[in-house]
Amino acid sequence: MVRVACSAALSLDELVTIAVAQAKAATRAAAGILFLLDGDELVVAAGDGYPAELMNTWSRFALSADTPASSVVRNRRAEWFSDPAEKARRYPDQAPKRTGFNALAALPINSRRSTLGVLGISFRHPREFAPVERLFLLMLADQVGIALARILDAGHGDGVLHRTRLADPVRRRAVTDAMSAVDAARATIDGATALARTICDADRVHLSLIGDEWTPAAGSGAAPGSGPASPVAVPLCAVTNSPHAPLTIAASSAAGRLPAPCGGTETYLGAPVSVRGVVVGALCVCGGHPRAWSDRQRELMDVLAAGIGTELTLRSRAAREGRLLRSVETRTRLRDRLAAAGSVSQVAGALLEAVADVDGVVGAAVTVCDEQAGMRHHQARCSDSAVAAALGVLAAQPPGPDGVLNRSLSLSDLIDELLGDASPLVEIGARRAELVRMPGRLTTGWLAVALEDRADTEPARRDLIDLAHLGGVAFDQTAMQERHQLATGRAAFLAAASAHLEASLDIDETLQRMTRIAVPALAEGCLVFLADPGGLRLAAASHLDIRVEKRIKAELGADPAFLRIAESALAEPVATGDDLPGWLRAERVRSTPLRGRGRLVGLITLLDAPSDGLPHLADDTLMADLAIHAAITIDNALLYAKRSADLAALQYRLLPPRLPLLPEFDVAAHYQAGDRSLDVGGDFYDVITLAEDRRVFMIGDVCGRGAAAASITGLARAVLRTVIQEGASPAQALQRLNEAMRTAGDRGELCTAVVVRIDGRGDECHLTAAVGGHPLPLLRRAGDTTEIGRHGPMLGLLASPVFHEVSLPLAGDDVVLLYTDGITESRRGDEFFGSRLVTAVTEAGQSAEQVITVAMDRVELFRDESNDDIAMLAVRPRGRSLAGIELPDLTGPSAQPAVRALISRVLADHEAARRNLCRRLAVLMTLVPPSVTGPVHVGVLKLPGRWRVEITRVIPPDGPVAGARGPSRTVPGALDQVRHGMQVMASIEVVSAS
């Protein structure tokens, strides 16, 4: 409608009326004004809605003035003022003037390459200009410019200028070539113009080139010299390019056909100047008085014009070749830059720089994508982000349905495609756009270029297509590098992840290490959830930012909302939106299932940043590979954990759950599994009470490990226990076990064992020992430690082995230690612990528990690895028990009276000993620290020649480490550090003679 209305305008007044009416209708503007450029000043051409005093103030003002209208003309850019404050800020001198208008749009009125004036639209109230409004007003100004140019042209020799010829692009290119050759042809031109002035005896002579504008290229006399361009309608030289040329005017008043601005010229003679057969301008002579031009003068003018044309032709050819050479050099440099570019971003930057150098380009953008690598890159080179966004929309347009790959978009096409988004482009002077496909084998790319309004856009279009081809090749090369880089990076990541996953069976630590290398190679955050019986639990998490990582571990692990999101992200990535806290800084959540043997064992969840269009390592294939590897590792570890826990429980059951409490014997035992990764061990021990004065202690070691060894261990312990309870002696027991071993199976299972029977009540005892292939027991007596017994064959090896029994007396406080070879064969390098055990036993304290503790401490200090099981069983006769009591707490108020009563009762006939013991016990019990709590046993014992009071407490067994609950930081299944027995807290003696 605007276009139609403006086209129909017949006068300036009508034009501005139409413009203001259109603006009012669309934007509710209160007033409109049209300024026209007159030399270095702006004058009001028409206005509507402004007070008369304002119109008078604005009637004429300098182009250099600090006003919005002057600025718009100088910059050829529209200006928008939403409120008076904004205007006052940008134009401080205007601030005090109260116009009664609070918003303003000042729009340049352009025609082709020159600005004709300014259209001002004013509003009563402050307002923001929406993109669509801006576009409408810019288009209105554009149409006013076209109409205004037509109106102005109408006043200047309409019918003389041959517009079709002037607009001919071939001719315009010839003019451009000629203009580029003027300087080189200066001597010839100056000589020709001087000669023309002489021959024609004219006041002035000049050479004009007529392209989009009139450009004086040389002059003599009062004629303009070479200088800036003016509107093409101004001079007669433009008329010379009409079919009526050469134009000869003897007297303007008579001719009546001179354009208005040619005031002062009465006579004129113009000879067309041609370059390569195309008229590009005119050599003109003129004067201020009527006169006739002779044929000779006209003929010579034609000759001089032809000479200038020939010179310009030759020089323009040379100039064109020079330009071509420079263009080749520029292209070569561009090719080198593109080839050297290491990233898509650098290719795009170099390409856009070259595009920006193309004549007429006001902004450009590239969009390139590599679907296989997941890369989508957009980059723009333009004045502001709004223009970049508009070009981005253009560059993202798919090819048309007609298969046309390169598209030229007119202004109306731009508006159709972009609607309001077109306004930033229109505002920077873009009046058309080229959308050029960048052909590539690996990538798809588009170059969107905004262009000024030019009559001839073909050269720019050819340049852009050429550049687009170069860009396509360069993007392909970069994409190839990117793909290679990605493939290498993915392989390296999987190798590193696999190494971590295979390094340990400590699942939580392994997964934590895996998430650490996954961040940020795969994503900004990586979480691993494991499926526990109670649901998913967060097993590991890493984030680029420790602040976020801490909050993930503290808040998300048990957050049901996040777990739901993580699970739902299994199907497809979930955009976080408002569902996740902002501190997580994630735009997207992706989860990959971890499946082991067909069941879900966990999830890997990635927290993705906002997409930057760059290719990333974590594509579906890599995540699937990683998930398979991680799932197998987790599943194996879970199986291992369960199996180890089962074996630990089995082994625990192969040992006595606790040692019997023997009032007359101090017994302690210790068991430690060997290498944590090994299966169940074969060491065992047991204590059997046959009668009040007969007890059997045994220890054994089944060769081998695993379930088979465990079954033999169970068999050996059960056989020994059974036959001993049936009354077998130690040697007979080993015989029976040997038979059982040989008949239990045909796998050649072997074991070793020691059986020690102790007869007596703890004061004067008798020991009988038999050994089958096992280290001989140790006996510590009076500060000396020796081996006891005789070596016998291994059990299960021989059909009729002979086991020798050794008998010896055993006194109170003698210590007998049964042990497996895990102790003496503990190693440090090539060195064995060996006889150090004897030293340790000798140097240990009195009690059985102290002997075992010292022996183990020495072993731990000595060895550099622990790959064999260790079992020890120590027994010490404490004396014949006379009486004993159980106290709930040694520090309780009733403890001392109870102990005193016990001693008084037992030693009623031994006054001195009773008093001595009571006094010393009273002192001892006052020294018991409050931290010692729990039940204790106080026993009164009789040894040869002395009485003894011992306070003891039971050492609870540690039991197997719980491992059945699932993966944990500690390797499950190791039956570690089982200690049990009795701890002697205090022992006081008095000799019976006292």
Binding site: G342, S343, S345, Q346, G349, Q485, L486, T488, G489, A492, F493, A495, A496, H500, E509, Q512, R513, R516, I517, P520, A521, E524, L544, D545, I546, R547, R585, A609, D612, H616, L617
Partner: protein, 136 residues
């Protein structure tokens, strides 16, 4: 106030430094990258800087004053509070990670021996800290 497109790399291994700088420049040609090789120079250099870099990549295994000591030095200076320090190391041991965080590191990047993976790691890490400065 830190300078957005500026990174300080503290690394005494010339080859590693070259790889890191190349990776950063490849990602962002206009990025300002300064480098120091001596742990003792870090805090004085930062205190002299007109504007702090947005991010410091700190190699833990510096000869002489090691990365942990440099990290503690930095965190003792209140004027360096807005500097994001990201540790670069080949260790994935959770105990090392915990130690670095306890000493005041803001992030922890594992230095891969594979250049392609290292580049991906560096680019993603630097991009994050350019987008999310400590002061945000």
């Amino acid at each position: 106030m830190t300078e957005r497109r500026s990174v300080l790399v503290v690394e005494d291994n010339e080859i590693d430094l070259e790889v890191i700088v190349r990776a950063l420049r490849r990602w962002e040609p206009d990025l300002r990258v300064d480098a120091l090789a001596d742990g003792d120079e870090v805090v004085p250099w930062l205190l002299r800087a007109v504007r702090l870099p947005r991010l410091m990549l700190l190699d833990l295994g510096l000869v002489g004053r090691n990365g942990r000591a440099v990290l503690r030095d930095i965190r003792r200076e209140p004027v360096l509070a807005e500097l994001a320090v990201v540790v670069l190391t080949s260790s994935t041991d959770p105990r090392d990670v915990d130690e670095c965080y306890a000493a005041g590191a803001n992030g922890y990047l594992v230095k891969s021996i594979d250049i392609a993976l290292l580049q991906s790691t560096l680019i993603a890490g630097v991009t994050y800290w350019m987008r999310h400065p400590i002061a945000s």
